[in-house]
Amino acid sequence: MSQPFLRESLINTKNEALALIADSKSLKEVKRVRIAFLGRKGKLNSFSSSMKDLESENRKQAGKLLNATKKTLEEALEDRERQLSKQERGDWIDVTLPSKHPPLGHKHPISQAIEEITRIFERIGFTRVRYPEVEWDWYAFESLNMPKGHPARDEWETFFVDHAQHPRLGAMVLTPHTSNGQVREMHRLGKPPIRMLNIAKCFRRQQDVTHTSMFHQFEGLVIDKGIGIQHLKGTIDYFAHEFYGQGVKSRLRPFHFQFTEPSFEVDFSCGVCGGKGRLDNGTRCRFCKSGWHEVAGAGMVHPAVLKAGGVDPSQYSGFAFGMGIERAYTLKPGLHIDDIRLFYQNDLRFLDQF
């Protein structure tokens, strides 16, 4: 091989190698290029053997050129390797490593329920209110058609506050229900229309898996011309599917409260078995036992209560309902809380789950 030809051929080989290096997409490919050009049987080594035939001066020059080519290729390979390895390994991080974040707080489930309930009722025009937790007997009982000594009062295990009686409003009590807001709201607004949502702490002398001495209720009160049972049903049905999901129905059963006439107990169909009382596989639903959950008390506002609130019962009618927030919340499908005392034990291991 002549010297000029060898030189040209070497340059071509170099360019070919550089092109391949630039095109290589992985370290594996780079390695293949390295072996093909710089390996023991590589293309550049084949030049060394053909140089043996050249004259010493030419051989020296060709040797220099060969070395320079080798060096160039070596650098190009290393550059490319570095580039690719950075791409393939250098930016790698363990994306599954648990992250270090600021501590998470937890909103109490009762607050979460209150916010959700508020949002649901505000959408249909209810105004949320707040009335005293320490209340006069008159608002808690007497104005609600329950005169002193009335047997119906036994239903409320009332706490009495050690304080002088009010000459007109009677004893001081811890309100045992949110219904104390009914007449207060009528007095506040002066005249219908009324759409009240009263959410408050209530107190009763009882403590077991379904009762705590302090608990929360929400109470709806609607008074206007032409209000009937159908509107109570509409409101309760709307709440049921907003709070528990589409498909949950409500039903009213007859009951008795002194401050409503007619009075109802409100049941919601079970979200687990769909109100059938049995699961799809035929076994009895353990969540509800009968397909229904008893959740609330409700009724059409008694004319005596309207009168106590200064509302003319010959012109207006209304409905009211009251529900325990703890009870309503524990019926959320999949929640599985069967002891409401947990809400007030303030065990952070419990609260962390919400």
Binding site: I110, T118, P151, F160, V161, I194, I229, K233, N346, L348
Partner: protein
């Protein structure tokens, strides 16, 4: 109140082919709630919740009457069987002198039976009583209980021979009189209870509640006096509650049992006594009934019925339902020729056993609607004007505070408003300035709290296994007021966290910033009984103290066995929320570059640098901000940003400001500039 009704006993009064399951379902939908069916000796026993206004249903016959009205609405035949009573009597007048007081007792029925064989009841009778939950005793007594459960009117039996004076005087007890009830318990009377006096002053019965030991039937009895009285319901209620005697008779009588049932009840008892005790009737039935109750008709307007039900119920249906319930109904269409008849469209006269709970139109509407079926009524939301006048309470801001604190690692707790004596004592308010409940459930729920902090320390303690605890709560505290005033219910936000003051202060600061409240921390107003005074600060906004924060003092930590430091922050929520700004006032974005420089001063020990920064910032309008860059021993370096809104600043502009700062800090904070200007 729950009562137990055996199915077979029910069928003595109700003719129907309905199954117990159907009876349970349909009664629950339209009448009393049948909560369970229990099987006892091949009989289904219903466990039924009867509401307090329906004493007429607290018996087998009462439930039968109700079922006879409900079941036909579901296409099931049902009929109330007439009560078949034998006409047994004697011509002899009862030889007991009875002196009634019509104000206390509305009716008395009495009959004497002799040749009584006292013993155990036959099994049909004792088993029936066992099924309803009544323990069988002697046959003559069992008969009275049987009649009470069956007819719904309590009835008493005396041992005729033990009424030695043959006199019964109805009167009110005097305070301090005593009697021994048939269960052997001695009671001292408060006065005002209705009792029977045998003419000698001796009490021989606590009528309507429980018999007395001195007149009750024993195994030796041969002659009995069956006796019914109708004592004023409120009198029964008071006596039964005050003496804590809650017999089934008292539970019924305090609700006002229909006096009209009395004759059926005593005749039924006579029938059973002659059958079961082989007794013979030895007197006429004495009936003292001064004023028979009048039944008041109720007017019901068709329009009101339509409003309440949301539909038009046909009059035939309305009449059928009410008639099946025992009412008399007359229907007179009122809107003929556009005239409105004030007397209403229906006149409904309730039966005697419903005369107390059916008094107004709404009561009648309830009867019609429930028997028609609430499930058959439409369901729709109301139309009409939406009331917009609120109380002005920013509930959503309370929610917002909660959201922020939760985002910053605080967990919300709900602690009880009623606290123990110990917690009340640690509130910072004297125990005697707390309201308390007079009938607490337990010792740890007695006082209406004036601070949430002790409750939080209890939560901190009970969660001791946890590392860093950060909790908060928004709840009322109760400050008593004098005289005819309810206590002030003040909403408090309390945050409690492990760690020194700066950590909780950081969260408090973020909260105030987020609420767009301009605040100041006032160290010297921070003294607070619950915290370490030199590690406390008040939070002021709009020249008002709205809250405070600090590290708990050592005695509190010790009392709750907590490892310090523990910090608390407490806010008056109403004051805080009153200052919240929903949106900022926009400041023009700066057009010209600032000049920024650092200045270092040496301060005396215990200098409040917050105040230094505040003063530096307010010294000149050119000072945009002052940030503490670092503090080393007594030296503090501040990064000061100067800016002019309308032009670029030069060193010449700020040189006088710099001097002003230096002079001011030297004068008021005894500070020394490090380096030269």
């Amino acid at each position: 109140m729950n009562i137990r009704i055996p199915h077979h006993w029910l069928l003595d009064h109700l003719e129907t082919k309905a199954t117990p399951k159907q009876i349970q379902e349909y009664l629950s939908l339209c009448g009393p709630s049948v909560e369970r069916i229990e099987t006892i000796r091949n009989d289904s026993v219903y466990d039924i919740e009867v509401t307090t206004n329906r004493v007429d249903m607290m018996s087998v016959r009462g439930i039968a009457r109700e079922a006879a009205a409900i079941l036909p609405e579901f296409g099931l035949k049902a009929r109330l069987k007439p009560l078949r009573l034998r006409n047994q009597t004697s011509r002899k007048l009862l030889d007991i002198k009875i002196k009634n007081n019509p104000k206390l007792c509305r009716r008395i029925l009495a009959v004497k039976l002799s040749d009584v064989t006292i013993g155990q009841s036959p099994s049909w009778l004792s088993e029936s009583l066992e099924k309803v939950g009544q323990r069988p005793l002697l046959n003559a007594i069992d008969i009275t209980n049987y009649v009470m459960w069956e007819i719904g009117h309590p009835i008493h039996v005396f041992d005729y021979d033990r009424l030695t004076r043959k006199t019964i005087i109805v009167r009110e007890a005097r305070k301090g009189e005593t009697l021994t009830t048939l269960d052997g318990k001695k009671h001292q009377l408060n006065g005002g209870e209705v009792i029977f006096d045998d003419g000698s002053g001796e009490i021989i019965d606590l009528p309507g509640i429980m018999g007395t030991e001195n007149s009750v039937v024993t195994e030796k009895t041969t002659t009995i006096l069956l006796w019914i009285e109708s004592i004023d319901a409120e009198k029964i209620r008071n006596a039964s509650m005050n003496l804590a005697i809650r017999s089934q008779a008292a539970v019924l009588n305090e609700k006002g049992v229909d006096t009209e049932l009395g004759m059926d009840a005593i005749r039924r008892a006579v029938d059973l006594a002659t059958k079961v005790t082989k007794a013979s009737v030895d007197s006429k039935i004495t009936d003292i009934y001064p004023t028979q109750p009048s039944l008041s008709p109720i007017s019901l307007d068709q329009h009101d019925l339509d409003v309440y039900t949301g539909m038009k119920l046909p009059p035939q249906r309305v009449i059928r339902i009410l008639t099946n319930l025992g009412c008399r109904v007359t229907h007179h269409p009122s809107r003929l020729n556009g005239r409105i008849d004030k007397s209403g469209d229906y006149t409904v006269t309730p039966p005697s056993w419903r005369s107390q709970d059916l008094t107004i139109a709404q009561d009648v509407i309830e009867e019609i609607a429930r028997i028609y079926g609430y499930f058959n009524l439409p369901s729709r939301l109301m139309e009409g004007e939406i009331p917009l006048i609120s109380q002005g309470i920013p509930f959503h801001l309370e929610d917002k505070i909660k959201d922020h604190l939760v985002d910053w690692g605080f967990t919300e707790v709900y602690t009880n408003s009623l606290v123990s004596k110990q917690l009340a004592q640690w509130s910072g308010f004297a125990l005697k300035t707390h309201l308390s409940v007079s009938n607490p459930l337990s010792e740890d729920q007695v006082y209406l709290r004036r601070s949430l902090i002790p409750s939080h320390l209890e939560v901190m303690k009970s969660n001791e296994v946890r590392g860093s605890r950060s909790i908060f709560e928004i709840a009322h505290v109760y400050h008593p007021r004098l005289g005819k005033n309810l206590p002030q219910e003040k909403l408090r936000l309390v945050m409690t966290a492990d760690g020194p003051l700066p950590a909780i202060k950081a969260t408090v600061t973020m909260l105030l910033e987020k609420l767009r409240i301009n605040y100041q921390f006032l160290p010297r107003n921070g003294a607070w009984v619950l915290t370490n005074p030199i590690r406390s600060t008040a939070i002021s906004a709009a020249d008002r103290i709205v809250g405070r924060l600090g590290e708990l003092n050592a005695s509190l930590l010790e009392a709750f066995q907590l490892n310090g430091p523990v910090s608390v922050a407490e806010f008056n929520v109403n004051a805080l929320l009153g200052l919240v700004r929903t949106h900022p006032t926009y400041q023009d974005l700066p057009q010209y570059p600032p000049l920024i420089e650092d200045l270092t001063f040496m301060f005396p020990e215990k200098t409040y640098l917050g105040q230094v920064i505040e003063e530096m910032t307010s010294l000149s309008r050119l000072v945009e901000s002052v940030v503490l860059k670092e503090t080393y021993q007594r030296n503090s370096t501040f990064t000061i940003t100067y800016r002019h809104p309308d032009r670029s600043l030069t060193d010449k502009d700020i040189s006088p400001v710099r001097i002003k700062i230096k002079t001011f800090l030297e004068k008021y904070f005894k500070a020394k500039l490090i380096g030269t200007l």
